[in-house]
């Protein structure tokens, strides 16, 4: 399972990624989590199973959904409160739920 997080510069999201990695449990299987800045989204997106956007770039959602739609990759904006408190476990759950839909 490969999760992609996107934010403006990839800085704050990399903080979230660290916390998410710590929340990974063995029963989830192999989980890869990466953070990229918004301008690299198009290059890398097709290699991932699920995409989460930082809430600060949610104006990109429609645009990005056109691309993820082509590949059938689910995409959601991260819950702002979880993002703010850097709750890696909650955000990881959000990603896992998305793939199960």
């Amino acid at each position: 399972m490969k999760i992609l997080l996107v934010c403006a510069a990839g800085m704050s999201t990399s903080l979230v990624v660290e916390k998410m990695k710590k929340a990974v449990k063995p029963e989830y299987g192999e989980v890869v989590i990466d953070a990229v800045p918004v301008d690299r989204f198009e290059e890398v997106v097709k290699d991932y199973d699920v995409v989460l956007l930082g809430p600060q770039i949610r104006y990109k959602k429609k645009d990005f959904e056109k691309i993820t739609g082509e590949f059938g990759i689910p995409l959601e904006v991260i819950n702002p409160t979880d993002y703010g408190m850097v709750r890696g476990d909650k955000i990881l759950e959000q990603a896992l739920k998305l793939t199960q839909k």
Binding site: M11, S12, P55, R58, V86
Partner: protein, 440 residues
């Protein structure tokens, strides 16, 4: 509808589409991406400037060990000025050349056109317009800061012309039987020819009419705009707009600053760097480091002071947040504060969150203008902690004092709102605990 819901619907209905428009508009995006490519060059040039300009006055004498070192450095830098400055002159000193490559590349990539030929065509076109060769030398006078706007225009314009020719299928027609590889090797010929001739013609007309070459003319036209951007009202307005975006939870700086003002800020800092090398006074105040270290102190909204107060807060939520947010805040990253407090759509925090950053900007602007602190002339990565970044960008120790003074001011400005919000949270937390105890 309560206050925050109403604000939410108003701002989201108006600001979100605007944000999307600026963020997704192809030419603005290509300009932005093109300028981002040039950041390593400005940092490289900045490092050279640090070596070339030790932070010590010309008249200081070597009275102790530290000063001996500084004076030796100063004298060495003066004696070897040409050799030391050359890497600067070949990076930041010809910045517009990298800008034209970056912008043409980005726009061509967005159209899925051949990026290499787009960049090379743009360079040739740009040089014809901005640096006509004379006596075997390419003059560098307008491929520095003064050429940045021209570089953006030519980068975008030349790719658009090429795309127009392609869309009208204007290419060299080869007779049947000519191998396709041969035909495609001629593909770049017509766009190159048309671009060069078109811009050469424009250049000749401009020279004939105005007596100026194109970048000179463009800078003359843009001079009022450049002047307006480098002013206290513009700084305050930019900060407030960016924070209004942030208040509804969208990345305001990437829209207002990086999205629209970037070429101005780049132009300003390059012109400052060149002024330092030629020993002139620094012409501009508003630059990237100015924004990063004086205005968005601790992240958008100037929240470092607020973060420090959170660390010591009696509210469990703010206290937990402060601990998560403090370290990133030292590197000017504050999404935890923005979404964790939350600042977003929080009516109590609206006033400080939207206006403090602009207040910082106005104060720092006038202090710079009055020479209490040097203007920035070195581009430093924005994630450098503010006191260090401000010092490196200005090579002036007084910038460190300014950072701390602004930090204290921000704490004072945030304090009343922080207190109201904290009290509210503590009450809520008390209620929740009460409920839990009853359940137990």
């Amino acid at each position: 509808m309560n206050f925050s819901e109403r604000l939410n619907s108003v701002l989201e209905n108006y600001l979100l589409p605007v944000a999307g428009l600026i963020a997704n508009q192809r030419h603005l995006k290509s300009m932005r991406d093109g300028l981002i490519y040039t950041i390593p060059f400005t940092i490289m040039g900045g490092l050279v400037l640090i070596v070339a300009n030790p932070p010590i006055a010309k008249d200081v004498l070597p009275s102790n060990f530290f000063l001996k070192f500084m004076v030796a450095w100063r004298d060495w830098a003066a004696a070897n000025a040409y050799a030391i400055q050359l890497p600067f002159k070949m990076t930041m000193g010809i910045m517009a050349l990298f800008v034209v490559i970056g912008v043409a590349y980005s726009l061509a990539r967005s159209y899925k056109m051949d990026t290499l030929s787009a960049s090379t065509i743009a360079v040739a076109t740009f040089l014809i317009v901005a640096a006509p060769i004379k006596d075997g030398n390419i003059p560098a006078g307008y491929i520095d800061a003064k050429g940045i706007f021209t570089a953006v225009i030519i980068g975008l314009g030349s790719v658009e012309i090429t795309r127009f020719l392609k869309s009208r299928n204007i290419t060299i027609k080869m007779p049947e039987g000519v191998p396709p590889a041969v035909t495609s090797s001629f593909d770049a010929l017509i766009p190159l020819g048309v671009n060069v001739l078109f811009f050469y013609f424009v250049s000749l007309v401009v020279q004939k009419l105005s007596g100026m070459i194109v970048p000179q003319a463009i800078m003359t036209i843009l001079a009022p705009a450049i002047k307006v951007v480098d002013s206290a009202p513009a700084i305050f307005l930019a900060a407030t707009l960016a924070q209004l975006f942030w208040f509804v939870g969208i990345h305001g700086a990437s829209i207002v600053k990086t999205g629209l003002l970037q070429p101005f800020l780049d132009q300003n800092i390059l012109a400052n760097a060149e002024a330092v090398l030629s020993g002139n006074s620094l012409p501009y105040v508003f630059t990237n480091p100015f924004w990063a270290y004086f205005m968005v102190l601790g992240g958008s909204g100037a929240t470092l002071g607020f973060t420090l107060m959170c660390v010591r807060s009696k509210s469990k939520q703010l206290n937990a947040l402060g601990k998560v947010a403090l370290l990133p805040a030292l590197f000017n990253i504050n999404e935890p504060i923005i979404f964790g407090t939350p600042m977003v759509l929080n009516p109590i925090m609206f006033i400080p969150f939207v206006f403090v950053q602009g207040i910082n900007g106005v104060i720092a602007f006038y202090l710079t203008k009055l020479n209490f602190v040097n203007a920035a002339f070195i581009n430093v990565p924005w994630t450098t902690p503010a006191p260090i970044g401000a010092f490196l960008a200005t090579m002036d120790w007084r910038a460190i004092i300014l950072v701390f003074a602004l930090l204290i001011l921000d704490m004072v400005l945030y304090y009343p709102f922080f207190k109201i919000y904290e009290k509210q949270l503590i009450e809520q937390e008390g209620e929740e605990e009460g409920i839990q105890e009853e359940v137990v």
